[in-house]
Amino acid sequence: MTLRVPIVERIMNANDQVAGINRQHLDDAGVFAVNLMASPGAGKTSLILNTIQRLSPALRLGVIEGDTAPVTIDADKVSAVGIPAVQINTGGDCHLDAPMLDQGLQQLSLNDLDLVIVENVGNLVCPAAFQLGTHINALIASVPEGDDKPYKYPAIYRGLQVLIINKIDLLPYVKFNMDYFRQGVEMLNPGLITFPVSCTTGEGMDAWVDWLRNQALSV
């Protein structure tokens, strides 16, 4: 005979437990961590390099690079400016998960750092489902991607603490309705802190970096 067994167990529980342990490690070391997500080409590495330029050496930064293949292009760029960078190869997976971040954190000497930026795999779908244990989830939306992304990828917008709109220098050349975009964001995540920036011209970068500095110093 068949028997129905009630369970009601969140499927992401196992990941979220490891995320909790990651957070504890970060807090114990007094390190503030950012999970930086975006689609490929939105400017994750550019934003990281621009942020390093403005915050280092006053703040001691480390970067964890998530890539689907053993390609060290991003990590090399960060190392080249003298910042400790760890590369995590997800082995084809489209996202970082909490156990992968744990591996990455073990390769950084956390006690010598103030801020860790985790560059997630370029993807608007999968990273949304996996909490890493960082203090904030940040997303870069870039103007050429289009203004409909909050409507098409609601899950990733739901879990954010900060949004960066990159490539605003392209607004005159691209069909991007800022009001429509912002309305979608507002419906999913009311009052979300948002920084319009251009990594190319530097516009808006100071506001973002000042905010990040204050967050990092609050840990």
């Binding site: 129905r4 067994v5 990941n15 489209c94 998960d97």
Partner: protein, 118 residues
């Protein structure tokens, strides 16, 4: 393709509970999925058939219950359900809304058989 690791989690949860109940096999798995969660059920089904093989869940049917997101309009207090795309309040067209639920993703229950295995 994050559905692979997600499907592994589902299998782990089902096996754990089935063993606790001394099940001989799992016949059905009931999964609840909110409209705003980022899971593709077809992919879960695809991976399930690969990874559940040789487990107590082999041949178990997956059932997905997709539940609409619940939204509250902050301007007119209208509560409405979102089954498809994100949209402002259908009553007053305000975009000042609050998502009450819609991110659910959990194993609700399993159906098991007992007794054949002593």
């Amino acid at each position: 393709m994050h559905e692979l690791s997600v499907t592994e989690s589902i299998l782990r949860i089902c096996v754990e509970h089935a063993e606790k109940e001394n099940a001989s096999r799992v016949t059905d798995v009931y999964i609840t999925l909110g409209r705003l969660s980022s899971i593709v059920d077809d992919s879960v089904q695809f991976y399930w058939e690969l990874i559940a093989e040789n487990s107590i869940c082999a041949a178990a049917q997956l059932h997905f219950e997709r539940i609409p997101a619940k939204i509250l309009c902050l301007d007119c207090s209208n509560e409405y359900e979102l089954d498809r795309d994100l949209e402002p309040c259908p009553k007053c067209h305000s975009a000042r809304i609050k998502v009450i639920s819609g991110d659910q993703f959990y194993v609700d229950s399993i159906a098991i058989e007992k007794g054949e295995k002593q």
